[in-house]
């Protein structure tokens, strides 16, 4: 019901342009359709796509190093591994304060585990250092406390660090440390903690105030204590020693504790500098190892290609990516093996399934149904049971070998090795995946009219020609569907190869499972998984180009 005006657009009955009305109607329809699939879509997104994306993201994520040792990592930027010398004092000093905080938050061992994937020995280096960090600079702390017991007094410290009542507050520092701790522990450090560092005192003693603020936040939020009632960490006192020795202008400071500070500074003036480098080397001489430091430096950016390099048998080094030593290369070979064996399994499934599917689709319904049950029965049996059954069949003291020996075909001393190798995996997986090939083939074949073959024969074709030129081309979509199913299932299999594969019949998924559940190297597992996913997508794309995905039919 549209009205055409002379030079305007086509209008609908209510006077609006037809195009817009149409669009509106269509949009409503689309929205309705979307609303219908929304539950499924959201379900799939939340329970499937998002977790997979999150997992795959771990293959490049590497924030733990810069979150745990932010200042150390920054100081390390100026250090050059090629110099052949361990970093200078300032790095060790940052390391002390970073590591102290990390060990209070019990995050240092996690970082140790992470870096141990790259450099053997870092795990115990971090663990043991974390235990004895309190010992560093002990003498200085003792000297301070002997000089004046107020340095052990929590209330004095609190007054010193707030700068007294009504002093200008340094909220910027507080917020900075909040963020720092939140990144370190992945917990929220928001909220009032009953402490704000004073502006004047933080200008005078920058390191001390920073360390005390971190201590205050941690005490209130993580330990749920009151700041003014807790004696500060050793690291805070060491920071004070550093500040005073660096020549803080105590004389011009008038806040609370000024007299004690001046007294302490006078005492410390007569003492040598703290050498954090010597202290760390005394704890563990591995802190002087160049390889440890260059590992920390190499893995300091928040994102890394390290996991992906590992997954293709390479590693990061100060001079860029390089191949791993030959005796550690394994993943390239495993990827090749996985692809090759999956193809073998798909091939043997096609060979075995085609005649069965053909038979099923050409027999009378009643017989076909009985045969179908025989196909489905193993399909309904537990995967583990079927795999273990193959063990019993194939092992050297197993059913097949026993029969062959009994028949005299094989000598008792030279029984066939048919399991714990590639052969075992291919046999067992072909059997397990066979139904996935038979079913799509059967459903395609049962739609091919018998009359076509009969027509071909009546026109003079031999049995073979009639099959090959007429029947087979029509059954190809079934082969395609079955092959894709079987191949994609096979490429990710790991239980069966683990049980019957021995050492030569295992897949890349076995290593992925190992890194997920045993070595906890989730980053590497994610990188291996991503590569596998991409490989499957590429193969799918190639299949689409060569065969055409439209030619695949599941029924």
């Amino acid at each position: 019901m549209s009205v055409t005006t002379e030079n305007g657009p086509v209008l609908s009955a209510d006077g609006k342009p037809l195009k817009r009305s149409l669009n509106k109607a269509l949009r409503a329809q689309k929205l309705r359709a979307l609303a219908l699939i929304a539950p499924l879509l959201i379900f799939v997104l939340v329970t499937f796509i998002a977790p997979i994306g999150d997992m795959l993201f771990r293959s490049v994520e590497n924030q733990i190093v810069s979150n745990t040792l932010p200042n150390t990592v920054q100081q390390l930027q100026d250090w050059d591994a090629a110099s052949g010398e361990a970093p200078d004092e300032s790095v060790y000093q940052s390391l002390y304060f970073d590591l102290f905080l990390a060990s209070e938050a019990k995050e240092h061992t996690r970082l140790g585990t992470r870096l141990n994937y790259e450099e053997t020995g870092i795990s115990s280096l971090f663990r043991s250092t974390g235990r004895s960090l309190d010992d560093i600079g002990e003498d200085y702390i003792d000297a301070l406390e002997d000089l004046n017991p107020v340095w052990e007094d929590e209330a004095f410290w609190y007054a010193l660090m707030t700068g007294g009542d009504g002093a200008a507050a340094n909220t910027a520092l507080l917020e900075e440390q909040r963020l720092r701790l939140a990144e370190l522990t992945s917990d929220s450090f928001a909220g009032d903690i009953g402490f704000v560092p004073g502006q004047a005192v933080s200008d005078l003693l920058p390191e001390t105030t920073r360390a005390y603020t971190a201590f205050a936040l941690f005490t209130v939020v993580a330990d749920e204590d009151v700041v003014a009632e807790e004696e500060p960490w050793e690291a805070v006192k060491i920071a004070l020693v550093q500040d005073l020795k660096a020549g803080a202008d105590v004389a011009s400071y008038a806040g609370p504790g000024a007299a004690e500070l001046a007294e302490a500074q006078a005492l410390l003036a007569g003492q040598p500098e703290i050498s954090f480098r010597d202290a760390f080397l005394a704890l563990d001489e591995d802190w002087g190892k160049i390889s440890n430091w260059s590992t920390i430096k190499t893995y300091s950016p928040p994102f890394t290609s390290g996991y992906f390099l590992n997954a293709v048998d390479m590693q990061k080094s100060p001079d860029g990516p390089e191949a791993r030593p030959e005796n550690q290369q394994i993943y390239g070979m495993l990827f090749q093996r996985t692809l090759f064996m999956s193809l073998m399994i798909t091939g043997s499934c096609i060979l075995l399934a085609y005649p069965i599917a053909y038979l099923l689709s050409n027999l009378p319904m009643r017989t076909a149904n009985i045969l179908m049950i025989l196909v489905l029965l193993p399909f309904w049996t537990s995967l583990l049971v079927r795999t273990s059954a193959w063990k019993v069949m194939l092992q050297q003291q197993g059913v097949i070998n026993d029969t062959l020996v009994w028949l005299g075909l094989v000598d008792d001393a030279s029984r066939l090795v048919m399991i714990n190798n590639q052969f075992g995996t291919i046999v067992a997986m072909t059997h397990i995946l066979l139904p996935f090939m038979i079913l799509p083939m059967y459903s395609v074949m049962s739609t091919i009219p018998q009359t076509y073959v009969r027509a071909a024969k009546s026109l003079g074709a031999t049995n073979w020609t009639a099959f090959w030129r007429v029947y087979f081309p029509q059954s190809v979509p079934g082969i395609g569907a079955g092959s894709i199913l079987v191949f994609i299932l096979a490429i990710g299999y790991y239980i069966t190869p683990e049980i019957v594969g021995g050492t030569t019949g295992t897949f890349i998924s076995n290593r992925i499972a190992y890194h997920i559940s045993s070595s906890l190297n989730w980053g590497l597992a994610a990188a291996l998984g991503s590569i596998l996913l991409v490989a499957v997508l590429v193969l799918y794309w190639a299949y689409d180009k060569i065969v055409g995905i439209d030619n695949v039919k599941l029924g």
């Binding site: 019990k106 061992t109 141990n116 795990s123 005796n327 550690q328 290369q329 495993l334 070595s519 906890l520």
Partner: protein, 370 residues
Amino acid sequence: MKLTKTLLATTALTVAGAAAHAQDMADSMTMVSWGGAYQTSQINAYATPYQAMHPGLEIIWDESSAEAVAKMRAMDEAGNVTWDVVDVVAADALRLCDEGLAMEIDPDVHLAPAPDGTSAEDDFGDLLVGDCFIPQIVYSTAFGYRTDMVPAGVEAPNDICDVFDLETYPGKRSLEKRPINNMEWALLCDGVAKDDVYDVLATAEGQQQALDKLATIKDDVIWWSAGADTPQLLADGEVFMGSTYNGRLFSVIEEQNQPVAMMWDAQVFDLDGWIIPANLPEDRLARALDFIYFATDTQRLADQAKWISYGPARASSAPLVGQHADLGIDMAPHMPTDPNNAQNTFLYNYEFWADYRDDIDAKFQAWLAQ
């Protein structure tokens, strides 16, 4: 400061511990273990008596110990830890502790003293590995062999190096598909002194040396990954000798009466025990601590040995080990810690493997796949 803090925390916990009986404890508890005969022994020795003392308590068992570390990490990331008490091997406990996923334990607060008053710390002694682990049993990885496959006129194998001697003892062997233990045995049989094994294994040459030694028998090895594999392979006559946990071999020998015997030489001691997940809600934590206090006392640990041939982790439990509950045989001679069996032993080196596990495993797997 740390000391005062620990003291304060300790006092607080003692108070909490005493108050725990008065305060509400959760009335259900999820325990994680390994399944099989081992879990049965725990149900018999710990869970059933504990439930008898606390009627109305529901215990849910989860047989996930093999993947406990990965699952706890995942639960922690999801912010929903559903487990209360988790049975893990000591190496995993160390890693959970490192990851901050397990709660730190103070043995003298959380564990019962021995009946003679010895503190828990002294009673468990060196077995308290790391800060979070509560030891329960000592088990060992040892070899078993088919007695009927020993060649005629040859003495039965009694030396770890017999595993590497294919001439005198032809036949397949089953070894675990990981470097731990195998590398040590290989070096030991390649002329390295027992005290030097880990120093040698820390070097690239030493690792290669161990792999070269293993290569001499590689063609005759079936590699296992589940503890049940070797007993099965031995029972089927598929292998002549194989390594596995001693409790598994006990059940092949004594419960199933297979022609299999133990070879205890160079057995590797390892520990299994409990950890409590970090940051449990108060009522569940109170329940878990109460259970642990009960289940790791001297009598309970000794009781477990009635059902399985693993040694109790407390020194004070050893004299109380009695007879097998069903078979009625003395359990003491079947314990890995029995003096006759423990003439030459290794203790799993936790620190070493925590550091070298990834590196050596990469080499080992590459070597296996060659």
